[in-house]
Amino acid sequence: MLEYYLAGGGLRLAQTIIYASIWIATGCVIAAAFRRMLGREKVRRIFGNDTRWGLLAGWLVGMLLPVCSLGVIPVVREMHRAGVHRGTIVAFGLTAPLFNPMSVLYGLTLSDPIAILSFSLCALVIVSVLGLIWNRGLDTSEVVEEELPCPGVKRMVAVFHSATRELVGPTLLFLSIGILGSVILAICLPKGYLTDQVERDNALAPLVVAFIATPIYSTPLLAMSQIGGMFQHGNSIGAAFSLLILGAGTNLGLFAWFGVTYGVRRVILLFILLAVTTVGLAYAIDKPLYPEGVEPAGHSHAFDVYTHPFDPGYEKDMARIATVKANDFWKANEFGGTYVLALMIVFGIVFVFVERMVDLQAWFTSDPGKNSNGLDRDVPGWLLGITVVAGLIAASVAGCYLYYPAPDDLLGDMQNVNADAVLAAKHHDWEAADKWIGFSDDLSRRLEVGVFLRRGSVGEFQVAKARVYREKLDNLKQAVDTRTTEGIEDLAKDVMTSYFQLSKSFRNIDGS
């Protein structure tokens, strides 16, 4: 039994860190940029402190910045230090983990566009309500302004210093709470939890999911793929909404920070308000947004990644299997994030010791001396701002095109992955089959998004082919999950056949 919990917890811990690392690093860099490049006064201005548009600014900036519910922690800490109104902090803190250009694009192709737009607007309603209530009793204490580092190399070093120090300070504690909360929930929930509980005819589904989802950690893309899966399986739309807002949008670390900063009673109030508004809206949109023509599948896989990875009765060599799965997961999902995060933590520790010997803040702000090479220029703030926003948008667009490649590029990879899934199933290599089926499913969705991105729409014929392919994959997955050998050859053959048709339909897309 101990091995069951350790192996399962270890695997979920590794997966969470791999998922979160790049987003956490990004959040630390954003926070450092706020502090060292913009300064507190400009941060307050960006977030509309002296205007009525603060909440909207928090929502808009949150929609643009690529952070998750863990990566947002260093950013909200910096916003608090800068004196941004707490309502705006709440609006930003809850919006940023939910949506970014890549996840919105993904969501638009998985569900009816109106559903994703409705989810976005409902999120705006939630953060607005919370932000307005939270803004009552506005702060009147003065914020201590910090001198900006001198332009040039010193400012770059200062940004790096702040980003890395963030990771070896209190932020690390809140991140740990968030990660451990998700891991502990995972090992407490047995495998298959909520598989059958989120059907549309379960009136309590949105409430049950809201209850479970809060400690969950999920990235915006992962959450959006699960939302799409729930739409396509005909699951409860209200439950999908609860999963998005409370699952992807929050975690225990974020609430811990709110509690430490604003008081335990206030964070309880925040949680209640958030839960009540989320569940209320979930019930409100549950029936109207239910997709037409979709038959309930009777099950959902949306919660598989948040539950224990092993069956309680399946005790064969769990530690080894957990290690193999973690390794496979790392190979498939690691894009340098863990290295970056590890390096930042190392440098953060180094800076802790350096600060004991050298007054870095004084060095950052000391006289830079004359512009000896004549190349340095003062860039006006508005130009810098426009460049940053344009750069963010350009990076998002480029990221979308990279993550969702053109069909011809992606189909090559997909052929190999599909073949691996089919062969693994035929050879009864269940772990491998489960892994490759998951990859195949993901690639089939990215295929549709890639077409949508480049053409503005996906043909209904191609959508039908993709849907059939995923249905065949789902049938195969069910047999793999239950280790059923009878009929698995036929199911694998169905997958292969439907893959060929899918591939043909997407390769011919320009000719149609």
Binding site: D139, L194, F211, Y262, G263, R265, I268, A297
Partner: protein, 218 residues
């Protein structure tokens, strides 16, 4: 920074609300009892029955078979023959686990045999087994086939333009007979088919033409 004042009473009220939510949440984690849409017998003493998900026992495997079947049903509907008995499917539901971690697997009986649970090795504990008898009448079968026709066509080799044509004709008929199929009244359903006989005949003929075409991509 100034603090938001929160009276003690409000705090207690908020805490009570949280507890209430969690209690409801826990209770919601149990399987809901819903109206059974089939008769069932159980090996356990479970007093709750779970509504079967829509399992497509009567879905034809290919587009050709689907078109042949809708032709059969259509010819029957416009005749004066008495309604045939609904098709009965025997399904074995194997329940693994309990509570919210519980889930079911469904196995259809083949060719008059008793439904069997295949051997599997995934370590779940079987907590209950139930045999369901699911009845499908011809009205339900017909509307379901027309609803599934685009998807069935997509599993084959049909080209894009033919597929779009098949979808269009299937949806035409579906829109005509959907309301009557939901009425659960044989006479209403039959009258609806007869009233729209020409349109349905035309749509079915076009589907048969598509079925007869050799498979090709455009």
């Amino acid at each position: 920074m100034s603090r938001l004042n929160l009276p003690k009473r409000m705090f207690v009220l908020c805490l009570s609300m949280i507890c209430t939510v969690y209690v409801i949440g826990f209770s919601g984690c149990q399987k809901t009892s819903a109206n059974a849409n089939s008769t069932s017998t159980s090996n356990g003493d479970s007093s709750t029955t779970k509504k079967l998900p829509k399992l497509r026992f009567h879905q034809p495997r290919t587009f050709d078979l689907a078109v042949k079947r809708v032709r059969e049903i259509f010819e029957f509907a416009i005749s004066d023959e008495p309604m045939p008995a609904p098709k009965t499917f025997r399904v074995l539901e194997v329940v693994h686990g309990t509570g919210a971690a519980g889930h079911s697997h469904y196995y259809l009986a083949k060719n008059g045999e008793e439904p069997q649970e295949p051997e599997d090795d995934h370590g779940h504990v079987t907590t209950d087994k139930k045999i369901h008898e699911v009845n499908v009448d011809v009205a339900t079968e017909m509307i379901d086939i027309f609803r599934w026709l685009p998807e069935i066509a997509a599993t084959g080799d049909m080209g894009e333009s033919d597929w779009k044509s098949a979808k269009k004709h299937a949806n035409e008929v579906k829109d005509l007979i959907e309301a009557a199929a939901k009425s659960n009244d044989d006479t209403t359903w039959r009258n609806s088919i007869k009233d729209n006989r020409d349109q349905i005949e035309s749509a079915v003929k076009k589907l048969e033409t598509l079925s007869a075409k050799p498979s090709s991509q455009d």
